[in-house]
Amino acid sequence: MAATFARYEHLVDTHMARHPLTGMCGFHRARLSATTIAELACLHPLASSGSTPLRLFSSDQADISAVLAGEVDLAGRDLLRSALARIDLPPVGGEVIIDARELSFIDHQGLLECVEHIRGRGAATVLHLAADSATRLLLNLLRLPDVRVVTA
């Protein structure tokens, strides 16, 4: 049920990102588990504080496949995996382009989760990073052949 609804959330999010439409979704904390709320909240560009450590949502720019924001570590690893499985990551010229300028932290396992998911779709990964992003240190050491970095 959560998976189907999460998929709907993603499709609505993509539509709203590129149309003059804004929505606000509310979820009943007493009726849904924290895990389910996180799985839904993480697909929104904005979410209540504490509801999800990370967000994976659609960009208003057609040449960006998705935006990844917040923090990805042990606490968000399963959440990232389920979110990646539920959203479209349309490749642009054989590359999936992730805007990660608002990603404040990602550990090596989160990064590999993301890159391997995209690799599984037959595409290379392009990461847009903030100038002072720590992710660059990880990438320098991991030397992943199918990851390209664009600095904001």
Binding site: E71, D73, L74, F105, D107, H108, D132, A134, L141, L142
Partner: protein, 312 residues
């Protein structure tokens, strides 16, 4: 080296003068060149110059700057393996490398280099490497000499006689109790931060509060935060509760320890190679993003110490 030897042949020698250094290392390199083997000289500036002058131009020896190569053990192993793999891909069946690792006599704590010398017997063993590791008796502490005798299978006397090291220990046996962490003066003080069973983001937040005192460079701080996160994740996933994060700071420096009650990583190359057992990749990253990393085991469990900023 005996004919038919397979894998690494790891030899040490001790010298107390430039002449004695040359009397052992020069023949080693010359024999390699004469045999048509790729032959590498991996020393810091002074010894490299002695060898260059003695060998003359067109020596056939590949001179690689030892200072840059030996930035940290994890970096050295990666570069070393690249060199070895390159020669093997070009058809080499035997490769000679002479080089000197850092130690307190050259201004660097010995601890992780002791782990390196032991792990070298494993991590280079897939290559036909004949390695000679000289130590300068004028500046090398006794403990380092003792460890060199326990981490090299063979020893060359000043007269050039090659002998088996009776004191050699297999890496796992050596690492079980030989290596002790260098004393970090900041750790004698009460920690500025102490968090029991932290989630990774709580650990990062706690360490970040020390930046106003330490004022590390952006890369040093980012590297420490990533390393802290990886260490806490390893403790939570692979260690045994309770996990305790402690941190100290001084201008230009932050020290973080993460301890748990488990036995710590079993692999002898933990932190030195990317694929060394569970949690190995995170440990390997930390070994390159921090100024120094110590792995400590005691009756209470395992502790990792991460140092960022100036290493003293």
């Amino acid at each position: 080296m005996p004919d038919g030897h397979v894998g690494i042949f790891h030899e040490t020698t001790f010298y107390d003068s430039d002449e004695q250094f040359l009397s052992v290392v020069l023949p080693f390199l010359r024999q390699g060149v004469a045999a048509g083997e790729p032959t590498v000289s991996l020393f810091a500036e002074h010894n490299q110059r002695l060898l260059r002058d003695a060998m003359g131009p067109e020596s056939g020896v590949e001179f690689v700057d030892g200072g840059g190569h030996h930035l940290s053990p994890a970096v050295a192993i990666q570069r070393h393996r690249q060199i070895l793999a390159g020669y093997v891909a070009d058809g080499a069946t035997q490769i000679r490398i002479a080089g000197e690792v850092p130690h307190p006599g050259t201004g660097v704590p010995w601890e992780w280099w002791a782990r390196y010398e032991a792990a070298a017997n494993d991590v280079y063993n897939e290559y036909p490497m004949y390695g000679l590791c000289p130590y300068d008796l004028r500046i090398t502490p006794e403990q380092v000499i003792d460890h060199a005798r326990r981490t090299h299978t063979h020893f060359v006397t000043a007269e050039g006689v090659r002998e088996r090291c009776d004191t050699y220990q297999r890496p796992a046996d050596f690492l079980a109790d030989a290596v002790t962490a260098w004393v970090e003066p900041l750790e004698a003080e009460p920690p500025l931060v102490e968090v029991a069973d932290p989630a990774p983001h709580q650990a990062r937040q706690a360490v970040t509060t020390l930046q106003s005192l330490a004022r590390l460079s952006s890369d040093d701080l980012n590297g420490l935060l990533l390393s802290t996160s990886e260490a806490v994740t390893n403790a939570l996933v692979h260690g045994r509760a309770p996990v305790l994060l402690r941190a100290w700071a001084a201008p230009g420096r932050i020290v973080v320890t993460v301890s748990d009650h488990g036995p710590g990583p079993a692999d002898v190359a933990a932190g030195l190679m990317p694929a060394a057992g569970p949690g190995g990749l995170g440990l390997w990253l930390a070994h390159q993003m921090c100024a120094y990393v110590s792995l400590r085991r005691s009756a209470e469990g395992f502790s990792i110490r991460l140092v960022a900023g100036s290493p003293d």
